[in-house]
Structures are given as C-alpha cells and as structure tokens.
C-alpha cells in the first residue's frame, strides 16, 4: 500500500499543476499572438495527456487496494474517511471529460473557446486534491465521528471533512504541487540551456514555470513552518519523532541528521542547543514533549522515528536550498532585468526538478511514517485495519505490482524521451506546424483515410 501510494503521489504535481502551467502559456500565446508560446503549450498538453492516463491507472489500482489491504478500516470508518474520496471521484470524472476536450480540441475549436474550456481543469484538479487531502487529514486528526451506545457510528459531515490538519495540509501540499511542477518543467529547459539552446522557446519554457515556482518557494517555507508547529498540538508523537526528541524538556536542541536508538540515545548528528524549543515557542524555555512520554504502543518505534526524522531533515534541507536558488534568481531578474546567465545557476536549476520530487516524497514519508503505529491517529492501529489474506498472497500481489509499476515508469520515461527527441528534430528542421501528438497512445485519431 505504502509503495503504491508513494508512487502515485509522484504523479500528482504534474497531474494537477501542469494544466495550469499549460494554460498560462496558452494565455500568453493568445494575448501576445505568440506562436512559440502556443507551440510550447501544445507540447505540454501532450505530456499532460499521457500523465493523466498513467495517473488514472495508478489511481484505479489505489482505490481497489484500499479494499484488498485495509478492508476493516473502511468497514469501520468508511462513512467518514470516504467523504473526501467521494468528492475526488467526481472531480476526477470532470477532469477526464475536459482533458479529452482540451486535447482533442487543439486547432479544432476556436482558440478562445479552447482556452476557456481549459480553464475548467485547474479547479477540478484542485478539488480532487482537496478531497484526497481531506481524507488524509482525517487519518491524521480524525474528527466528526462519535460512537453511539449501540455501536453505530455517527458522522458529522463538516467536522469529518474539515479536520484540523486539513488547513495546513491543504496549503502545504497545494503549494508543493505547483512548486514541484514548476521546478520539474523548468529543469528540463535548464538542461537545454546547458546544452547550448538559447532561443526564445527555451527562455519562455524555462522562465514561466521557474518564476511561478520561485514565487512560491518563500511562501512554502512559512507554511511549512506553521504546519510543523501545529503538529506539536495535533500529533505530538509525530513531532517528537521528526525531531528525535526522547525526554520531555525545555531548552530542547535541534538535532540535524543523526539517529536515535530504542533506548533514547541519539548518535551522530549535529545538535544546535535550544533551537527546537525556540522554533516551537519562540523561547528557549518552551517545553517540548518527547517520545518517552508516550506509551510504547502509541508512538513510532526507533526505525520509524529515524525514518521520519531523516525525511523531515531532507525535506527542510531541500526546501531551504530551493529558497536560496530562488533568491539568486530574483536578484538577477530585478537588478539586471534578464534571466541568469551563470552555468552554475542552470546546473542547480536542472537538479531542482529531481530535488523537488525528492522533497515531496520526503514530506510524504514524514507525515505517514510519523503517524505509526496508527492508521487513524489515536483510534485505530494499522495492524487492526489489514485484511486476513495470507502473507503469500500479499507478497505475490506486491511483487506483481512492483513489476507492473516498473513497466509503467519505463513506458512513461521512454515515451517522454522519444517525444523530446522528435520535437528537437522538428525544431531543427524549422517546421512551423507542430506534429503535436502523432503516434501517441492517447492522441487524436489520425486521419481515417491515409
């Protein structure tokens, strides 16, 4: 389950945010009658289509897996946990319809109509993300359910949908989506710059997504900080694991790197005195709750704590690196009124795409592993949620899925590489009419009589 969820989350940034980037580009193209921008938008939309197809497949797998692996959790709490998914299911439906229209509509609808119809995509993507985050937040800070004396669950819909964690999870993740998509798309064109491509096409395709991502990086830093601080109230055990804090104490140091053992001793790592306390309560005397203050069956074990802690550090570290890169970018942009021209800038920007994905994954590990051993925080343990199916069955299922997913990943990457090679050839040939999506699996049909 973790494997499939962890995989699916990688598809989310491009899935939700690429339509927005594409529309911004199409908007620029239409407003300025810029053929280059339109060409870029057209090509991005092809990637968007392939990406959506892959996302639909892994999404379908996921919905079944909830049943195959965690039937008891859904049987018990489905009425509350499922609410978000009910919204997501319909949003996904809407998105499927309008992506079809958008992809098939290029050059076949009037440009303005095409653009306006495309505007449905970002909100429906966000609505879907909202639904899933509502479900995840519910697992972290369950609310809106009361157990009646006769054993029946009563659900207060609003309370179950808008749980405490949703406020920060939603903003933190939504910004992360746009940030990641922006850095990822820009990184491709950073590589193009390094290879010597310096035309208008490269500048636009790099500049637009990078600027969007760069504008969001500082915001994310603040939202991330607020989220972590909220955790000290909502999920103190998770927070203790993130900071590998063992004893409840004031003047708690911030440990960077390092590992904790099951006896509470911290090895390696750099400890900055009192910093954790200062970050939590703005004063060294702030008391931070430690892992040892929770019962052993209600807190992450040593391995889970270390995983949570290191992922958290990785996420914060990479986020900070992104912030510095952004400062560099804006400094050049404002003072020289042009894009940076340093090779090192583009090298870092090229790494930024991968870095952003690693950051998303690290953030996900932090929130999911940090919740262990609970599947629903404080209400149900993972062990009580799983199926009775035999381990042999589960392992063979996992094996099959790994093979299938590797296949999908291979297919996706191969396809993108083939596309990029073809587009480069086209550009070098100097043709103006884009071949767009020819020969793609989910592309407009080729001419019937050929």
């Amino acid at each position: 389950m973790a494997f499939t969820l962890g995989y699916h989350i990688l598809l989310v940034p491009l899935g939700v945010a690429l339509p927005t980037l594409t529309l911004v580009m199409e908007g620029i193209g239409l407003a300025r009658k810029d053929g280059v921008a339109l060409l870029i938008a057209r090509r991005w939309s092809v990637v968007m289509g392939v990406q959506f197809a892959v996302g639909a497949v892994t999404g379908t797998i996921l919905s079944f897996e909830f049943g195959i692996l965690w039937p008891k959790m859904l049987g018990r709490f489905g009425a509350a946990f499922g609410l978000g998914f009910a919204i997501e299911g319909w949003a996904f439906f809407l998105e499927a319809i309008f992506i079809s229209i958008y992809l098939y509509g290029w050059n076949r609808l009037r440009p303005r109509t095409h653009f306006l119809l495309g505007l449905v995509l970002p909100p429906s993507g966000l609505l879907g993300a909202f639904g899933v985050l509502a479900a995840n937040s519910w697992m972290n800070t369950p609310g809106g359910v009361t157990l009646k004396p006769n054993g029946v669950l009563d659900v207060d819909v609003w309370a179950a949908l808008f749980t405490k964690a949703l406020t920060y999870e939603f903003w933190h993740f939504t910004i992360a989506i746009y940030l990641t998509a922006g850095f990822a798309v820009a990184s491709i064109y950073a590589v193009a710059w390094l290879r010597g491509r310096r035309d208008r096409y490269q500048r636009l395709a790099f500049g637009v997504p990078f600027t969007i991502a760069a504008a969001l990086a500082p915001v994310q830093w603040i939202v991330g900080d607020l989220s972590a601080r909220a955790l000290t109230f909502d999920q103190p055990a998770k927070f203790a694991a993130m900071e590998i804090t063992w004893q409840t104490r004031s003047n708690n140091p911030e440990v960077i790197g390092g590992l904790i053992d099951s006896g509470g001793n911290v090895h390696l790592g750099v400890a900055i005195p009192s910093l954790d306390s200062i970050l939590v309560g703005l004063s060294p005397s702030t008391i931070v709750r430690g892992l040892s203050s929770f019962a052993e069956n209600a807190r992450p074990d040593a391995i889970e704590s270390n995983l949570t802690h290191l992922s958290f550090d990785l996420m914060v570290g990479l986020g900070t690196a992104a912030l510095l890169l952004t400062i560099w970018y804006f400094t050049v942009l404002v003072r020289r009124r042009r894009l940076p021209e340093s090779r090192w800038f583009y090298r870092l920007a090229a790494l930024g795409g991968v870095g952003a994905y690693v950051t998303v994954e690290a953030g996900w590990v932090t929130t999911e592993v940090g919740r262990q051993p609970w599947i629903v925080y404080g209400a149900m343990r993972v062990a009580d949620a799983v199926t009775n199916a035999s381990p042999v069955f589960l392992w063979s299922m996992l094996g099959t899925l790994i093979v299938v997913y590797a296949g999908i990943a291979f297919f996706f990457v191969t396809l993108l590489l083939r596309l990029s090679r073809r587009w480069r050839r086209e550009d070098e040939a100097g043709g103006t009419e884009p071949s767009g999506a020819r020969g793609l699996p989910y592309a407009p049909r080729p001419r019937a009589v050929e």
């Binding site: 959506f52 197809a53 639909a56 497949v57 999404g59 379908t60 797998i61 919905s63 079944f64 909830f66 049943g67 195959i68 039937p71 859904l74 049987g75 018990r76 489905g78 009425a79 509350a80 499922g82 609410l83 998914f85 009910a86 919204i87 299911g89 319909w90 996904f92 439906f93 809407l94 499927a96 319809i97 079809s100 229209i101 098939y104 076949r108 609808l109 009563d154 659900v155 207060d156 819909v157 179950a160 949908l161 199926t387 199916a389 069955f393 299922m397 299938v404 296949g407 999908i408 297919f411 396809l415 083939r418 020969g439 793609l440 699996p441 989910y442 407009p444 049909r445 019937a448 009589v449």
Partner: protein
C-alpha cells in the same frame, strides 16, 4: 428519510456499475475481437479499426469504476469490508488485467518491431477477456449469497457455478457490445468489408449471449432459486423482458442490415441485464445477510453523497453531452 436516501445512493451505485458494464463493455469487447482477429491482412485491418475506435474514449470508463468503489466504501462501508474480505482474489486478478490492458494498449503504439507488437497484441487481448470475466464473477459471487457467510473461505466465496456463469455471460455481452460499435465505426469510415466482418461477429456474439444466458439461468436456479423467482416478478421482470426482447432484435437488425438503432439497443440490453440483477436482489446488498438499510452509512454521509451527486449530475451531464456533441459534429477530428 435515511432509508430513502440509502436507496437513492444504492441506485447511483447500481447506475455506476451499469455504466461501467456498458461503456467499459464496448471497450473490452473491442479487445476481445482484437485477440480473435488473428494474423493476416484482414486481421490487421480489423485491428487498426479497433485501435482508432478505442482512442478517443480512453480513460473515461475507468472513472465509472473508481466512482463505484468510492460510493461503495463511503455509502455502504460494511458491504465494502465484507465484499473485499471475501472476494479479494477476484479483484486482484481483475485489477492486474485492467492495468496490463491499458499499459499494453498504449505500448503497442510505441512498439518498434513486429515481435514487440505481437506480444503487446496478445497481452492486450487476453487481459480484455480476463478483466470483465473476473469483475462479473465478483457480482455473481455476491449474488450467490456466499459473501460474508460464516465459515466460507475466500476461495469458496469467489468460485462457484454462479460466479462462473456471471463471468461467461459478461464476456458474451461485452463481445456483443464491442462488435456492434465496431460496425458503427466501420460504417463511418465507409469500410464495407469491415462492416461485413463485424456483422458476422455481432451475430455470433448475440447467439452466444442467448445460449450462455439461458445456461446461466439454469446455474442460478440450481444455486439460488430465490434470485430467479424475484427476477421473474415485478419490477425486475421488466428488465429481464427488455434483455430477452432486445438481444434478438439487435441480431435481427444487423442480420437484415438495417443499420439503425442497433447500438443504442445493445447498450439498453446490456444495461438492463445488470439492472435486472441489481433490482432482483434489492433490498439485499448481500442476499439473505445485509440489506441496503442495514449497510447504509450515517445520515450525514448519505446526505453529502446525494448532494455531491446532484451537483455533479448538473455539471457532468452537460459536459458529457458537450463532448458527445463535439464528437458527433466531428469537431474533434481533423477536417477533411
């Protein structure tokens, strides 16, 4: 209030399953004919037609499936738990089939040599048979009353004469849907030879559906007589009658080459087949064990589901209409 709503949600759930069976059926059916097309020039041309006709509907069908699952676990959590605890073997196979199908349909477009192409064709074709078979088996297993029965293992719940009967019926029904829609696509391309090709196949599939369907009824009455009884009484009998009238009608139309209404009537027949089962089983979700009322989620959840469904019908209905309108107008195809 709660009961009415629960029935409403159950109806939407049945609708999603029906929509998946009909819309997805057309798609799976095309895959079945792809598998049976064989080598040679004629087979190649049939495959190309199948390719072209499958491309524009792509993932919209999976959406129905996701929707059904989500409605089930939110609206009827206990049903979801019991069904998956018993039938996970069936769903696992169907799921793998579903993924392989999509992946290899896409893969054969980028396959670079004939060998890769052949492998992709086979995997795509075989998984097009396996997937609907196993999904329908799970419906049959639910209908057999074995799901959630005490002391019945997952294996016994999953595999029974009834579940196999459901599976076989679904393969025939999808083959029929696929063939009729391919006639339509061949006609649109004015490929007379392919029209004849799929006309023969429509007739074969319709015949198979009638024979296998009759056999399935025998299997059902052997295992669960109550279901046959309620299928023979109002209101389910209306849907049964529709299936019994429409299937031969489609065959007749296609046989006489009166190419009008044959597709919509096929959809109605296949849809009624699923609906007949669902209506006959109500008020039970799991026959003899769990009623719609017992399984329903708390009132608040049901209200939200109904509201969301209502809003979406207002938005999605027109959107689908618009998509179909553009498709019919050929606004989404290159101008000739």
């Amino acid at each position: 209030m709660n009961v009415t709503l629960a029935y409403l949600i159950a109806a939407v759930l049945l609708l999603a399953v029906t929509a998946y069976s009909t819309a997805g059926g057309v798609d799976f059916g095309a895959g079945i004919w792809d598998l049976l097309a064989g080598g040679g020039e004629r087979g190649r041309r049939a495959r190309e037609l199948i390719d072209r006709s499958m491309a524009p509907v792509w993932e919209v069908n999976n959406v129905w499936l996701v929707l059904a699952i989500v409605l089930c676990w939110t609206g009827f959590p206990i049903l979801f738990e019991r069904v998956f605890l018993s039938l996970y073997p069936l769903f696992s196979v169907a799921l793998v089939g579903l993924v392989l199908r999509g992946a290899f349909f896409a893969f054969r477009h980028v396959a670079e040599n004939p060998r890769e192409h052949r492998i992709a064709d086979y995997v795509f074709g075989i998984s097009s048979v396996v997937t609907p078979f196993f999904f329908a088996m799970s419906l049959g297993a639910i209908a057999s009353g074995r799901v959630g029965a005490p002391g019945v293992s997952a294996w016994d719940a999953s595999v029974s004469p009834m579940s196999i009967a459901f599976g076989l019926v679904s393969v025939c029904a999808t083959a029929l849907s696929g063939a009729t829609f391919l006639i339509g696509d061949a006609r649109r391309e004015q490929a007379a030879e392919l029209v004849e090709y799929f006309r023969t196949r429509t007739l074969i599939a319709a015949g198979a559906l009638i024979v296998v369907g009759t056999g399935a009824l025998a299997a059902i009455s052997g295992e669960r007589r109550e279901l046959v009884t309620s299928m023979a009484s109002f209101p389910a009998v209306a849907f049964v009658a529709i299936v019994m009238v429409l299937t031969p009608t489609v065959a007749l139309l296609v046989w006489r080459r009166w190419f009008a209404w044959y597709r919509i009537l096929t959809v109605a027949a296949v849809g009624s087949l699923v609906t007949a089962w669902g209506v006959a089983q109500s008020p039970y979700l799991l026959p003899g064990r769990l009623t719609i009322e017992q399984a329903a989620a708390p009132l608040g959840t049901e209200v939200l589901l109904a509201v969301v469904a209502g809003v979406v019908v207002l938005v999605i209905g027109p959107s689908i209409g618009f998509l179909l309108y553009l498709d019919q107008k050929s606004a989404l195809e290159p101008q000739h």
